[in-house]
């Protein structure tokens, strides 16, 4: 039984810190979402945590088996109970860290949050954890109560209650799944998030590209442009309310910022030449991007309040794909100043840059993980005709290739820093894929048509 193992890859956050952080987030979330009294949200009826907590270990290189769990239908409203349990099960399964046992093998079809389960029924099918819950209508709201049980320990790991408006059921389910995931892995959740991407249709020689956003699991796709203009590389602002992207709609290709809710868009700056490769700073106050001048591309930053522009790199090279460290103090970018595409790190104000990639091949599209406790930079590596997605530490050590093949490109981090999403081209079609930082998990992300250039939002606030 894995119930006494510890997490080797997440040493920084103590259980107390994680619990406190999670508690703050969920409370804030519930309040912001619902405008309900604080008493309705948060932990209820929690029993003391077991001495040896059930947790899954995910370590690079080491053998890894997903944890078998059971997610029976939630009780309460039959339709909602089935829907929420199904989304929770799908989230946990797609994370790659869990195997959701076949409901046909369950001795009880549903388990509510109001009972202590008959653990023997779940031990018999070797479920390590049981996610049980109840979903009900209460005063115009939908309320979900969830308990996660350590089946073999016979103890409750988490007991929480969340509420939302009836049109937000999927989000409610993602929040429930985040609570279970977080408890069982020790990592922060990431299911309550969205992905911006480029929807692709039409032949490769004349591809139609539209900006789109969806829930992280491919649901609720919404198109933000109509496909008349070529659009590339959307990137979420830290508030998730804006997207910076590149558009060919105004003649010269330029960087624009789009308000996701209103659809209003704004040209960034008044520059004489092409701008591209935008990325927000972690505080949302600054945009970095590349500007082309003749044969060279250099990196600039613009203060989005005062509009002051600063040139961060100079010289006869292609400097692009800038991405901030989570504390905003440094920027990783790619440059061919040494002959081929390689990764460099500089201070946010520019100046001397140090090269961090020294392996064979070319390195591009670096993105800094949002998790300050586990510093990683994800990248695309081209080597020997293969396009790989990998991660390395910000000092360039610890390179690990997560996937490789004909064409993999453009990683973006999950809000918890445990996964990257990227796009893969196979047979002339692009699609989105998910890999975890250990390389144990590789999953296709559903999209309505071809898709590329994913940008993962922070957790929804």
């Amino acid at each position: 039984m894995p119930s006494n193992v510890t997490i080797a890859t997440d040493p920084a956050a103590s259980p107390e810190t994680r619990r406190a952080r999670r508690g703050r987030r969920l409370r804030a979330l519930a309040l912001a979402l619902l405008g309900l009294a604080a008493g309705l949200a948060g932990t209820f009826g929690a029993s003391p945590p077991a001495a040896a907590q059930l947790k899954i270990t995910v370590t690079p290189g080491a053998a890894f088996q997903p944890m078998p769990i059971a997610v029976p239908t939630f009780t309460g409203d039959p339709q909602l109970g089935a829907q929420v349990a199904q989304i929770v099960a799908q989230d946990l399964k797609t994370s790659g860290y869990f195997t959701v046992l076949d409901p046909a093998s369950y001795l009880e079809r549903s388990v509510g949050a109001d009972v202590t389960p008959n653990f023997n029924n779940w031990r018999g099918i070797n479920a390590q954890a049981l996610v049980a819950g109840t979903v009900t209508h209460q005063g115009g709201q939908i309320v979900a109560q969830v308990r996660v049980w350590d089946v073999f320990g016979g103890s409750q790991l988490v007991g929480s209650q969340f509420a939302t408006s009836p049109d937000n059921v999927r989000r409610l389910a993602h929040i429930v799944a985040d609570a279970a995931y977080s408890q069982l892995t020790g990592f922060k959740g990431f299911f309550d998030s969205r992905v911006a991407f480029v929807d692709e249709s039409g032949p490769k020689s004349n591809r139609v590209k539209k900006l789109a956003i969806m829930d992280w699991d491919g649901a609720n796709v919404r198109y933000l442009t109509r496909g008349q203009e070529l659009v590339l590389t959307p990137r979420f602002s830290p508030s998730s309310q804006q997207l910076a992207y590149m558009s060919y709609g105004a003649g010269d290709p330029k960087v624009f910022i789009l308000n996701v809710a209103s659809g209003a868009r704004q040209l960034v700056g008044d520059f004489p030449s092409m701008t591209f490769s935008p990325r927000f700073s972690p505080d949302g106050g600054t945009l970095v991007f590349s500007m082309q001048k003749e044969g060279d591309a250099n990196i600039f930053s613009m203060n989005l309040g005062g509009r002051a522009v600063q040139q961060l790199t100079s010289g006869a090279s292609i400097d692009t794909s800038p991405s901030f460290s989570p504390d905003g103090s440094q920027i990783v970018f790619e440059s061919d100043r040494g002959g081929t595409q390689q990764l460099y790190v500089m201070a946010r104000g520019g100046g001397a840059a140090r090269r961090i990639s020294f392996g064979s091949g070319r390195y591009g599209t670096p993105v800094w993980s949002p998790d300050p406790d586990n510093p990683f930079i994800a990248f695309t590596k081209q080597e020997g005709g293969s396009f790989k997605i990998g991660v390395m530490k910000p000092d360039g050590t610890g390179e690990r290739i997560l996937t490789e093949g004909f064409h993999n490109e453009g990683p973006t981090w999950a809000p918890n820093g445990r996964y990257v999403m990227f796009f893969r081209e196979e047979g002339g079609q692009s699609g989105l894929w998910l890999a975890d930082v250990t390389g144990h998990v590789l999953t296709r992300v559903p999209t309505p048509a071809g898709a590329s250039d994913p940008s993962w939002s922070p957790l929804t606030k």
């Binding site: 092409m274 591209f276 692009t320 595409q341 591009g364």
Partner: protein, 167 residues
Amino acid sequence: MWSELGLIRGAKFAAVLATSLTLAACASQQDNAAGMGGAGGAGAATPGSQQDFVVNVGDRVFFTVDSSDLTSEARSILDRQAVWLAKYPRYTVTVEGHADERGTREYNIALGARRSTSARDYLIARGVASTRLKTISYGKERPVAVCDAENCWNQNRRAVTVLNGTN
């Protein structure tokens, strides 16, 4: 306005032609450029027309992998373009830079810009007024040849001189 519409149609026709030739045979770049002349019917092109430029002069030059250096073949095509543009000063042109699909998106946007700049600078050195020339990069977004092999990719690493209409 009338002439602009005509030019757009002409450009599309040329692109379709190039694609179908690529699919028909693994032609070398040189063969392909010559083939375009044959298939387009050189005799039919009105001197000074878009078709004349594409068919009899050659509207594009090709590059080796990750390079924006002009080959001797590319320079001779650009020499012909400069002569033709001197003869027909009513045109302004946009030099489009393109990259093949075997690179990352943003790098290839910059690489395409390097290629268009390289071709444009050569045209200027051959006497075309810089005021008649502008550049744009499409990176790897607009391939003319689509297959997962080098004989397509080398068609896509290109700078295309597109006639915009009259001054």
